[in-house]
């Protein structure tokens, strides 16, 4: 078991290191000079060189990458003397454009993105699994047909389109929900939920469609299996057969999908955030890319990658709990 966890962790680290390295290399190639931006006017050769040295840009690219990696464990100090900036461990870089360390910037945005992702996930799981089971039990009835047609539409409609139509319909025409902005949960839980309700529903609609299709087909398949017939033959109540025996099987692929989807969303629901102007991680990252703020991009990408990797690991662990045959080997 210890060996297993160790291999798993080593694998995670390796993936993250690769992500960090690729991001670093690509952005190192971006023709931009952060020192030039920070240099001020008039920018003399001497000032520019000083700024470069301060930011550590005078080193070779691999040395800069190594500095970044050591900073995570040991912290970093930029410059010397009174003007020095210290970035305490774990230091994931320092954004000179925003004069803040990357960890703080990310931490500021995390609540928004996490609220959005977890709230939407709760909605789409309830509706996705519920409708999927319902459609499977009522196969070939109008309920089934409507659910399926709706789910194809949901799979096809891009999330920004649904979001904008939602804003148009519920925000402007019917004027029932607010169309953006974010209020912290601590400030007013009611406002928090009310402002997020439209983004939640939009994200949930786009995702639930996949779950309906997945749950329906895997439910239909499971209901044809021998152990279900055995359970019915034993006289187990139908609700228990479906709700316990069959659902447990159906949940396996659902868990995988939730892991992948949540992992991706937590790193920043770039498009949903931009449609609803929510100040989340996605927006932070996109802005950083456009401003060529390398330390911030690197930090955000790494954080997003980290969440994906963690989500995948959790999925693997859940598998072992749900299905004893799939215990990790």
């Amino acid at each position: 078991m210890t060996k297993l966890v160790a291999t798993r962790l080593a694998g995670m680290l390796l993936v993250l290191l690769t992500v960090a390295f690729c991001t670093f290399v690509v952005f190192y190639l971006v023709p931009s000079d952060p020192a030039q931006l920070a240099c001020g006017r008039p920018c003399t050769e001497q000032n520019l060189a000083l700024a470069r040295e301060f930011m550590g840009l005078d080193e070779s690219w691999w040395q800069q990458f190594l500095d970044f990696l050591t900073g995570i464990f040991a912290g970093r100090t930029f410059g010397t003397g009174a003007t020095a900036i210290h970035c305490a461990a774990p230091c994931f870089g320092y954004s000179f454009q925003q004069n803040t360390d990357v960890v703080t910037l990310i931490a500021d945005r995390v609540p928004v993105t996490f609220s959005l992702a977890f709230g939407a996930a709760a909605i789409w799981l309830v509706f996705g699994v519920g409708l999927g089971v319902l459609a499977a039990l009522r196969k070939d009835t109008p309920i089934d047909r409507i659910t399926l047609a709706g789910s194809v539409a949901g799979v096809s409609a891009p999330v920004y389109l649904v979001g904008l139509l939602g804003i148009l319909l519920f925000g402007f025409t019917l004027d029932v929900v607010p169309v953006g902005g974010y209020v912290a949960f601590a400030e007013s839980p009611l406002d928090w939920a009310w402002r997020l309700i439209l983004p939640w529903c939009v994200l949930a609609f786009a995702h639930a469609a996949f779950y309906v299709r997945l749950v329906r087909s895997s439910m239909l398949e499971t209901l044809n299996e021998d152990f279900i017939r055995t359970a019915r033959a034993k006289g187990v109540r139908e609700s228990t057969v479906v709700g316990k025996h069959a659902l447990r099987n159906v949940l396996l692929p659902v868990v995988t999908l939730v892991g992948i989807d949540l992992g991706g969303l937590l790193g920043g629901a770039v498009i949903t955030e931009s449609v609803f102007s929510l100040p989340g991680l996605g927006g932070l990252l996109i802005d950083a890319v456009h401003q060529r703020d390398l330390p911030l991009v690197l930090g955000c990408t790494l954080f997003a990658g980290f969440l994906v990797v963690v989500a995948n690991t959790l999925v693997d662990l859940c598998y072992g709990v749900l299905d004893p045959r799939a215990r990790l080997t």
């Binding site: 891009p158 087909s217 990408t301």
Partner: protein, 288 residues
């Protein structure tokens, strides 16, 4: 079953129609007497900058109305946008399918370390925030490379892992069949086995996965244009139109609805057609 096939048929007809629109777009807009680049300030309301008249300025001359601020013909923009979406969506799919089949078959057939490394690389790819990467590459690439080509390469390249997974699984089952074993024992090289024994048996799943991944690619192109890093203006793109429509959603909803409907119709058609294909090939196969 028939109902399912009717849907797939409707999807196929829609794809053909949209394909014709993409091919004959210039002729079609010429028929309407419009092109997607000419400004028509006379069609705008001088007070607001939005289209003059009801429903985004729909009229006999401007079938879908005009674009706010510029007055360019929306019908021509949507029709020409079809070409952008189709070209990038299909070419990127082709690229990721070719890569995915070659890599997936190699992993499944060769096994051992090749398999382990490929699976690991695929994991890295799937764990990547690739949207950011695409944006970054768009910024890094020298402007001499046409944006369309860049988008095709980037979108196509990031699509191989999902294809490779399916092909690898399929190859693993094929590998155990006696005709593959016989070919190997007779001394056929991996490439020969791939061409004569594996590929003919992989076509069906490949076509299904290709069809079902087209809408994702088209959506991704639109998403990148939506985030303002797709094809550069003035080349029409549905995603960019939808993005610009955000500012006008309250006053000129038609500006959102026409490009949005075109995008939705295209992805929908590919999805139902792909579903139908999969059901035809593997009647008990799961959805997704």
């Amino acid at each position: 079953m028939l109902r399912r096939d009717r849907w797939a048929f409707a999807g196929a007809v829609t794809i053909v129609l949209i394909g014709l629109v993409a091919l004959g777009g210039t002729a079609l807009t010429a028929l309407a007497g419009q092109d997607p680049y000419t400004y028509h300030p006379e069609a705008l309301d001088p007070q607001t900058g939005g289209p003059a008249g009801l429903l985004g300025g729909i009229s006999g001359t401007h079938w879908f109305g005009v674009e706010p601020l510029t007055g360019r013909d929306l019908f021509a923009i949507v029709v020409h946008g079809t070409r952008t979406s189709f070209l990038i969506g299909l070419a990127a799919t082709a690229l990721s399918v070719v890569l995915g089949v070659l890599i997936g078959a190699a992993a499944g057939y060769l096994g051992g370390w090749t398999d382990r490394i490929i699976t690991w690389v695929a994991d890295v790819f799937l764990g990547f925030p690739y949207l950011v990467f695409m944006i970054a590459i768009g910024l890094v690439a020298p402007p001499s490379i046409p944006k369309q080509v860049l988008l095709i390469v980037v979108i196509g390249f990031f699509g191989w892992p999902s294809v490779a997974r399916i092909v690898r699984a399929q190859t693993l089952t094929l590998k155990k069949r006696s005709f593959v074993a016989a070919a190997r024992v007779l001394g056929a090289s991996p490439w020969q086995v791939f061409r004569t024994d594996l590929l003919p048996n992989l076509w069906a799943p490949i076509i299904v996965v290709a069809t079902l991944s087209v809408p994702g690619k088209i959506g991704l192109e639109a998403a990148l244009s939506f985030l303002n890093v797709g094809v550069p203006p003035p080349t029409p793109s549905w995603g960019r139109s939808i993005f610009s429509a955000i500012q006008w959603v309250a006053t000129d909803p038609m500006y959102l609805i026409f490009p949005g409907a075109a995008l939705f119709l295209t992805t929908w058609a590919f999805n139902v057609f792909g579903d139908g294909l999969r059901d035809a090939i593997d009647p008990k196969g799961g959805v997704r």
